[in-house]
């Protein structure tokens, strides 16, 4: 901890990231670009286009007469989806009572494809309903009205669908993870590399005391970073945890126990700083991608979900979101707390056993 520059960087770099990155991680899909191929040029097709653009989800980036041109817009990523309104759409709709619209979606970005497709089909259904009502009242059509079921949706815990509420806790966990596991591993290996660890090993100092002495500064550092993170979340994003702070801090200490154990374990397996770095990079990268911070654990296959259960960050991210957004109490998160404690015991135990052998 003597190295002031490093400590400052350890805290400042994450805090800056926490301020900026949630702005980047906005996945509320609202700017879906759509290319429309209008081969009909009727009032109905104009009305449909108007309805799509006024929905707020789509922006019209292409309006052409040829399907090939629209597809090339999709190819160049200028449009996420292409809608084709076939020729004589309006006329045939009246004549044949049924018409098809063709929608092609760029499915490489799956979430966008999913949401875009669903939004568009809902808009088309609405449009369909509008047409029916209108043409009925103007007398174009006669017939009986079938009963209609509607869905009244409400969103709890985050009624304004603010994506920051979802992502800020996860980014904070990611930053704490990087700090805890990596710095612990690095710091211990540094002593190994410079040879001072041998000196400590020959002193009468008990090994577990040395280890605890090494870990406590990082525990404190983790708590400081977490506290600053909560403060930043409140200051910049107005996030006030709904649940109790005690629950959060108890979980944090439980989590840091597990992650410091991981750092310790990695340190026992590496001889140089380079090795410690590549090892921790390996784990942190996988944690970041798989723990549910940016990707959905629920949509993974069973085997992957089982693996994710052994990643401490996945539990802590769950806890953070539940406590911060929903105000869950200790009783609700018992499973995750227990899992983290168990992982922590295994990792620390393993590390201490391995440390004795190698040192």
């Amino acid at each position: 901890m003597r190295n002031k520059g490093i400590v400052r960087m350890l805290i400042i770099a994450p805090v800056i990231q926490l301020i900026l990155l949630p702005l980047a991680a906005d996945y509320s899909v609202k700017n879906i670009s759509i290319a429309v191929v209008d081969n009909d040029h009727s009032t109905a097709s104009q009305r449909l286009i108007g309805k799509i653009t006024s929905s707020g989800y789509f922006k019209l980036t292409g309006y052409t007469g040829s399907y090939a041109k629209a597809l090339s817009l999709v190819e160049q990523e200028k449009a996420d989806l292409a809608l084709q309104i076939p020729a004589h759409f309006e006329r045939d709709l009246v004549r044949e009572n049924s018409q098809k619209l063709y929608v092609a979606i760029n499915a490489i970005e799956g979430t966008k494809a999913n949401l875009g497709g669903a939004y568009l089909s809902n808009i088309i259904t609405d449009f369909n309903e509008d047409l029916r009502v209108d043409w009925h009242t103007t007398g174009t059509l006669t017939g009986s009205d079938a009963p209609q079921i509607t869905v009244a949706a409400s969103n709890w815990y985050n009624p304004y669908m603010d994506f920051h509420l979802y992502i800020v806790p996860a980014i904070l966990v990611t930053l704490v993870t990087t700090l805890a596991a990596m710095q612990t591993a690095f710091n211990i290996v540094q002593e190994k590399e410079s040879g001072t660890i041998e000196q400590i090993n020959v002193t009468p100092l008990k090994k577990h005391i040395f280890i605890i002495g090494k870990l406590i500064p990082f525990l404190v550092l983790g708590i400081i970073l977490f506290t600053m993170g909560l403060f930043v979340g409140w200051l910049f994003y107005g996030i006030v945890p709904v649940g109790s702070l005690w629950v959060l801090y108890i979980s944090l200490i439980d989590y840091l126990f597990a992650m410091l154990g991981l750092g310790l374990l990695l340190a026992t397996y590496s001889a140089t700083q380079m090795q410690a770095m590549s090892l921790s990079f390996f784990f942190i990268n996988i944690f970041n991608m798989m723990s549910g911070a940016f990707t959905a654990v629920d949509s993974m296959p069973d085997w992957a979900r089982a693996i994710v259960q052994t990643f401490p960050p996945s539990h802590f991210i769950r806890i953070m979101r539940m406590v911060v957004l929903k105000g869950s109490g200790l009783g609700d998160i018992v499973y995750d707390l227990g899992a983290m404690a168990l992982i922590g015991l295994v990792l620390n135990g393993w590390a201490i056993l391995n440390y004795r052998k190698t040192a």
Partner: protein, 367 residues
């Protein structure tokens, strides 16, 4: 020249001697491609929901069986009261609750209208939107069916077609993303730490006072990393072709050329970092704490760049992996040629030249 070759050989020996690091360097992309390729999916399915049916009539039964038979939802249990519902949400047991009010079928027949109440746990806003949309779509389908049997005219049927990735797998998006992420971070990290280590040990001074030219030092340091990264690139391409059924649709030559360009850019960033850092720890923190998350988020494979506020979009343009990601998607997944990626290639070339020149200059100054 012979000096240079000897030096490059020496650097290779350094790299190959450290088996553990080498194992990690090759193990990382392999593990990630296989794990992410199979595990990450954008399709939201099996969302746990609770259904409360106060009506228990023929219509609600039909609707419930329709919901149950779709693989989007996994019906957990029926919740009876509002407090139970709240508890289930707080425990994270369910993502959504679907409530059918009493006299559902009755209302539908007599007033021609009935409303299903849907409550979504919006702590994950996207999931909430998506599953609400699914439910709405299911109910709309149901409406359409009844309308058809009732002979209701005027049916517009949207026909959806998913291009490039019909099964909505996560892999086509994640493989280019992981390629960009892994290549960039590994190159930056390895280079910066390798050079700073020499500084920390004091051997850099010896190198600098030797008649060996500084540019040779840089070249000999970069060559092993370049080679490792190219090998990594091919490992990733082969793995994704064999396991994930993602073949390179466009020209391999073009993809390799652009990849090498990208690798050189990343190596130059590493070089630049190493010039500013004094200790290995500092170099590593610069490349990991400082670059990992920003690279991950600003590359555009997790979150769409066009959604970001303007300053961040500008910032994202400065991240090389952002351009490389676009190139890989276009060349590998869509099979487009140089005509489609010349702009991105030009930008990468510019970045590479700029970074390399700067780091070369700075390196000389420190002599």
């Amino acid at each position: 020249m012979r000096q240079l070759i000897t030096f490059i050989r020496k650097e290779f020996l350094h790299v190959f001697r450290d088996r553990k690091t080498l194992l990690m360097l090759f193990g990382l992309p392999i593990a990630q491609i296989v794990l992410f390729g199979f595990a990450l999916s954008n399709e939201i399915k099996n969302s746990r929901i609770a259904i409360t049916d106060y009506s228990k009539d023929a219509v609600t039964e039909q609707l419930i069986s329709k919901i149950a038979s779709s693989n989007y939802f996994d019906i957990q249990r029926t919740v009876q009261s509002a407090t139970q519902l709240e508890a289930a949400f707080k425990k994270g047991d369910i993502r959504m609750a679907v409530i059918f009010p009493a006299n559902f079928a009755n209302d539908l027949v007599h007033t021609g209208k009935a409303t299903i109440q849907v409550i979504a746990d919006a702590s994950d806003p996207n999931l909430a939107t998506t599953i609400t949309n699914y439910i709405t779509r299911l109910v709309n389908d149901f409406n359409t069916q009844t309308a058809l049997t009732a002979g209701k005219p005027l049916q517009i049927l949207p026909e959806m077609q998913f291009l490039y990735n019909p099964e909505l797998r996560g892999a086509p998006n994640f493989v280019p993303g992981v390629m960009a992420l892994v290549l960039m971070l590994v190159c930056t990290m390895m280079t910066s730490v390798a050079i700073v280590k020499e500084k920390e040990l004091g051997t850099m001074e010896i190198l600098l006072v030797s008649p060996f030219k500084p540019i040779y030092i840089i070249i000999s340091k970069l060559t092993p990393n370049l080679l490792i990264s190219v090998v990594n690139l091919f490992i990733i391409l082969i793995l994704s072709s064999v396991f994930l059924d993602l073949h390179v649709k466009g020209s391999i030559l073009l993809l390799t050329f652009d990849s090498i360009l990208f690798i050189l850019t990343s190596l130059s960033i590493g070089l630049l970092l190493s010039i500013n850092a004094k200790t290995q720890q500092g170099a590593m923190m610069g490349s990991m704490m400082g670059m990992m998350l920003p690279t991950m988020l600003l590359t555009g494979f997790l979150f769409p760049i066009e959604n970001m506020p303007l300053p961040l979009q500008v910032l994202a343009n400065l991240v090389p992996s952002r351009w490389y990601f676009i190139i890989v998607k276009k060349v590998m997944l869509k099979g487009l040629g140089i005509a489609a990626v010349w702009k991105e290639t030009l930008i990468l070339t510019g970045m590479c030249l700029f970074l390399f020149t700067i780091s070369l200059r700075r390196f000389k100054i420190r002599l």
